[in-house]
């Protein structure tokens, strides 16, 4: 099936998927045990009267039946209004506009780092399988996967910010700086991006390592060596090329994990991203914000999966693309 038809079909399918995720989100939110009014009031919930809290709920219309809320949200959405975030006290659009960029930068940069590093290291480890690099990398990968991200972050801050003083310990810009300067931000983001990347790398690294190790045993690799191709070409051009499939697959499904990791990294490094806001929105049953975030993530996940599916056919022409 041609790529264009696939894209077209996926675009069509995106509509019901988006509807399903947003509806699912409302349903999940309704099942959530959290009361938005109490979350909103915070500590004041204990001194606020029942009547006061009820009035808040009435103001937001969160006591309306679910279909009513969903319908209201949909009709507003069609008019380009994403609604008002109860937890952030801002229009949903401005929450997303102000924060999505940073999360995207963090996640995007970390993903790029993860991809490059795990492709390189995984392939080299597979090539030297059984050697100290392979064993070291694999042990490290499992250890990192088992380790709280928080430890990594704290260790990174202690070593690189406190002991060595190379990077700032947190924040988006220098605490005394005014305005946002690219260099300053880059300097501040190196540590969080690296921590996020390291924490997410094990899956990718181990999968690359395993499938490259598998394909290294294939006849075509042997044949490529027989043609006198240099080791690097054989490794990356033949072994890795045939082993890319599981790796590509992971990118799409690991986005949520990456975003989940970003939540932690954002909190630890005090970065103003979407991560913390999502948790807050979930706890506060902030439907409009949740729905919008879900829409964004759905769009990202759909695009990522479409791209990886297209990449499959490029990476492995034997795969016939469906859907």
């Amino acid at each position: 099936m041609s790529a264009r038809r696939t894209v077209g079909r996926r675009l069509l399918v995106a509509v019901p998927v988006l509807a399903a995720t947003s509806m699912g989100m409302f349903a999940l939110g309704a099942a959530s045990p959290y009361d938005p009014a109490e979350q909103y009031a915070g500590a004041a919930a204990f001194t606020a009267t029942d009547e006061n809290l009820a009035q808040l709920r009435a103001n937001w219309g969160v006591d309306d039946p679910l279909p009513v809320q969903y319908w209201r949200w949909i009709t507003n959405l069609v008019q380009g209004d994403l609604g008002w975030s109860i937890t952030r006290h801002e229009p949903v659009t401005s929450v997303i506009a102000a924060r999505a960029g940073w999360t995207l930068l963090l996640v995007g940069a970390a993903l790029a780092l993860v991809l490059v590093a795990s492709l390189l290291l995984g392939t080299v480890a597979a090539y030297r399988r059984g050697g100290w690099l392979d064993r070291g990398l694999r042990a490290a990968a499992y250890a990192v996967e088992a380790m709280p991200v928080f430890w990594l972050a704290l260790a990174a801050i202690t070593v690189f910010a406190l002991v060595l003083g190379w990077f700032p310990a947190g924040g988006l810009t220098d605490i005394a700086a005014d305005g946002v300067h690219a260099g300053d931000v880059a300097h501040h983001l190196i540590l969080p991006i690296t921590v996020l990347a390291v924490s997410q790398a094990p899956w990718f690294l181990l999968f690359v390592r395993d499938s490259v190790a598998d394909s290294l045993r294939d006849d075509h690799v042997l044949a490529a060596r027989g043609r006198g191709l240099p080791g690097r070409t054989v490794l990356f051009g033949h072994a890795l090329r045939t082993a890319l499939l599981p790796f590509l697959t992971l990118i799409g499904t690991h986005l949520p994990e990456l975003v989940g990791g970003a939540v932690l990294v954002e909190t630890v490094f005090s970065l103003p991203g979407l991560g913390a806001v999502t948790v807050q929105a979930a706890l506060g049953s902030d439907f409009p914000l949740l729905a919008a975030i879900t829409l964004v993530t759905t769009a990202v996940v759909l695009t990522a999966n479409l791209l990886t599916d297209l990449a499959y056919t490029a990476a492995d022409p034997r795969v016939r693309l469906d859907g």
Binding site: A43, A44, T47, N52, Q55, I157, A161, G170
Partner: protein, 499 residues
């Protein structure tokens, strides 16, 4: 050369949701951006702020007249007038506005402005501590008039009269304030203030250690660790924030006075202060903190566990140990559940400490960590680790927490405690204007609570801060539960100087 001094950077965990006092920002004053009609000084005594003098209360206590200070202007240059005060309070009372302050102002009937520099509050009933409610920051009517306050851009970039105006607020990161040179109480000593929001304790400690902050709130043990680093001073600030176990009357075990009293004497408050709070606290015996003028010094106890007395109390009324060491009376086992909110680790630890102490008395306590929605339906029959407290007036909180009128309403009198004596004392405390009579009323209240033990009060917390030693002008005062940008150690930040 900057004669006004430089930048002060403070770090805190809690980030406000909005910067609008109407929507609960810094309602107890000291918000750096806004002023109330009155403010509190270093001893939490009321002083006039936007009011020219402390307000006048009529003889029947139902009319409060405030003369406003002259020549005050908002950050945007508009003059401050009585219309702004009226607007602010009416906004709070407006049901369309998402404010929880309304619950605290239910005595307020109307706000009027007879002239540009006078405001008159009319109350439904006499309410002695009403002036304490006038610390609410005043917002400019012109900036908000005709807008949906819930959704106004003002909430994120507000205009006030306070010592600092908002330069920028990057949610999740920092709030940057610049000095308001026209501040009525004089130019602030610092040009800029940066409030950094760092949610995680450990990270805040590390960043403080890295020298990013001039002052930061830290957990006691982390603060102690930084205290050994030269260049930092640790401040332990007393609060009115107590923790205790609410014992429901609807439960056959906790409903038994002997059990309640035994628990009250049998818990080891000192161990909790040292072990759980890392020394940053004091034992609590009543909801009125010892730092308050209303505290009754006779209502106290032994900081350590008095197991002998406690078991004596139980033995006396026939709670005898069964085969498994758990006491039994009339077929009823001395066993009950203590709930705690699962996400609150302090309350979890207190619940466990109480459990361990109760075990020594032969009472079996089962701790359960739950979400609020699971706690709520069980509050009438299961004990709960609770906390609250206000340093400003004993009527705040206690009236609703222990008054029988509020039994079972919201989170107020959860344990269905009913005592005519207590009701009377609380009512007197709010009706009487005379401080001496009020003090007497609250003495009665405290003694009655000590007799009925609807709660086992455990500890008062202390907030700990580290401040760079070169910073001068730090003046700790008794703090409330809520403290972040407003009402923290930096309540008087505009007078701090950095050497």
């Amino acid at each position: 050369q900057d004669s006004n001094g430089g930048t002060i950077v403070v770090a805190t965990a809690g980030e406000p949701d909005t910067l609008n006092p109407v929507l609960n920002y810094g309602v107890d004053g000291a918000s750096l951006i806004f002023d109330g009609l009155v403010a509190r000084d270093g001893r939490n005594e009321l002083t006039p702020a936007l009011a020219a003098a402390l307000p006048d209360v009529s003889a029947d206590g139902r009319t409060v007249t405030v003369k406003l200070r002259d020549g005050v202007v908002f950050h945007d240059g508009t003059p401050f007038t009585s219309a702004d005060v009226v607007f602010t309070y009416r906004a709070v009372l407006d049901p369309k506005v998402d404010s929880t302050l309304r619950s605290d102002l239910d005595m307020l009937d109307a706000v009027e402005a007879p002239d540009a520099s006078t405001v008159v509050f009319r109350l439904r009933y006499a309410y002695a501590p009403f002036l304490q409610r006038l610390t609410l920051g005043i917002v400019p009517a012109t900036a908000l008039q005709g807008q949906d306050i819930n959704k106004s851009g003002f909430n994120r970039k507000p205009i006030g009269t306070g010592p600092y105006q908002v330069e920028s607020w990057t949610a999740g990161d920092r709030l940057v304030l610049t000095a308001n040179d026209r501040y009525f109480a004089g130019k602030p000593a610092n040009r800029r203030v940066v409030v950094a929001f760092v949610a995680d304790d450990n990270i805040r400690a590390q960043r403080t250690r890295a020298g990013e902050f001039d002052a930061a709130e830290l957990a006691p043990k982390l603060a102690a660790g930084l205290g050994t680093v030269t260049g930092f001073t640790v401040h332990k600030v007393p609060t009115a924030d107590y923790r205790g176990v609410m014992l429901p009357f609807g439960n056959p075990v906790t409903g038994d006075l002997a059990v309640r009293k035994a628990l009250n004497t049998g818990v080891d408050r000192k161990a909790m202060v040292d072990g759980v709070l890392g020394g940053a606290g004091e034992p609590a015996y009543s909801p009125i903190p010892p730092t308050s003028a209303f505290a009754d010094a006779t209502v106290t106890g032994k900081p350590g566990a008095d197991t002998a007395t406690a078991t004596g109390l139980l033995d006396a009324v026939g709670w005898v140990p069964g085969a498994d060491g758990i006491r039994v009376k009339g077929g009823q086992k001395a066993a009950f559940t203590i709930m705690y909110p699962a996400s609150d680790s302090l309350r979890k630890e207190l619940a466990l400490a109480v459990t361990a102490d109760a075990k020594k008395l032969g009472i079996q306590v089962t701790p359960e960590g739950l979400t609020w929605d699971a706690i709520t339906p069980r509050m009438k029959t299961d004990a709960l680790v609770m906390g609250w407290g206000s340093p400003y007036d004993p009527d705040f909180v206690s009236y609703k927490l222990f008054g029988s009128k509020f039994a079972g309403e919201g989170y107020f009198n959860l344990g269905l405690y009913k005592s005519a004596e207590t009701d009377k004392a609380l009512q007197d405390g709010r009706d009487q204007a005379d401080p001496a009579k009020r003090k007497d009323a609250y003495s009665r209240f405290q003694r009655q609570l000590a007799a009925d033990v609807p709660w086992v009060f455990l500890t008062y917390l202390q907030h700990t801060y580290v401040v760079r030693s070169t910073v001068k002008g730090v003046q700790p005062r008794v703090e409330a539960h809520e403290h972040d940008v407003a009402n923290s150690l930096w309540w008087n930040l505009h007078t701090w100087t950095k050497g």
